[in-house]
Symmetry: C2
Subunit: 202 residues, 2 copies
DNA sequence: GTCTATATTTAGATAGAC
DNA sequence: GTCTATCTAAATATAGAC
């Protein structure tokens, strides 16, 4: 009796214990960090027993590693590629807006970044997976776009790409993650304008 | 019998229990994070008993809060003010170099930033203290320097200051904190050159 | 003021029933 | 395969001796 596998490929299928566990793990680890998360809570949030968690994952570290790898591999993307035919003023503003809006569209993204940074001492490989799967493709995409526009007269497109993305990430870090909005207020568009002015005045 | 108070002002004086506890707390919290640190280890590392820790600080949260406040208030500084008479190419390179070298000079600084980010969800006030005491003065100092040099023709000095510092912090975040050196290699001076080229080509 | 010893809770992990 | 019940270790916090 061949069951319909297509249905089970839906990663949110309720019957899939692995998914339930990872969902519970995501909620708990993202909220409380590695050491602050208990396997009891993971099991309860996932709607399974703790023994079931341990039958699917070797231990807490294994579960955490599996979760982070999965989130870095599947769930989050900095931004998609921009066609090189788009003119720079439009393309760069689009990229910047996309990155800064990411927090709204994917509410867990900033929390995920926080988690990876928080555990980058204890789990350096996981931080490296984040860099490899998210940071690197983002930098490379933007570098390639910048390099394909010689009229910008950028002496070092890759350095420029890092400056561009770094400014945006730091902005989110300071304003949202570290709750600096009221202490160090600045409109999102003001930062973007400043960035574009620096890059476009060739 | 008046004892010599001057000696006790040395914050590493062995007899001062408060200092011993904070030293132990610093080492443990910086290494293992909030939830990953036990009061037993803090006491042992500080060379006192656990009961003594609880006689000086109300509980784990109080100790953690006191430690972070202290580190943000006293121990770390982004960079000192640069005289406005220094010419931009020199001054900006000096500021950039200072910030990037900070990790070497103050080996705990990156770890402290990691800790504050890690706990910025549970302890938002502590993240705000960090922003108020470290981020804000840094941005403001650089903004003032940039604003005092109209020959740079910067339409928005504060946005530029954020771009400048953001690029540098993101660089350290990616290369060092998240162990991305080998995955996304770039020389420190290449980023600085790229930054200066963007800002100085007026 | 400072310590040792301990009460109490909670955590990671597993044995054994079904 | 999944659950309940439990073992063992470790953590927060405090009582009581000195």
């Amino acid at each position: 009796m061949a069951t319909n596998k297509a249905i089970e490929l839906d990663s949110t299928a309720a019957g899939d214990k692995t998914e339930q566990i990872l969902q519970g793990a995501m909620q708990e680890f993202l909220t409380h960090g590695y050491a602050g998360t208990s396997m009891d809570k993971v099991a309860k949030t996932g709607g399974v027993s703790k023994a079931t968690v341990y039958s699917y994952f070797q231990d807490k570290e294994g579960l955490f590693t599996a979760l982070v790898q999965r989130l870095a591999a599947e769930k989050f993307v900095y931004f998609e590629a921009v066609p090189e035919s788009t003119e720079p003023a439009i393309a760069l503003r689009f990229v910047a807006t996309t990155i800064l809006d990411h927090a709204s569209q994917e509410p867990h993204f900033l929390t995920f970044l926080r988690l990876v940074i928080a555990e980058s001492g204890r789990f350096p490989q996981l931080a490296q997976i984040f860099v490899r799967n998210l940071t690197k493709p983002g930098i490379e995409r933007l570098t390639q776009y910048l390099a394909s526009h010689p009229e910008l007269k950028l002496p070092d497109p890759e350095a420029t790409a890092r400056i561009f993305i770094g400014s945006l990430v730091y902005f989110q870090l300071t304003q949202d993650m570290m709750h600096g909005k009221e202490i160090l207020p600045m409109e999102r568009d003001r930062l973007i304008d400043g960035l574009l002015q620096l890059i476009l005045r060739s």
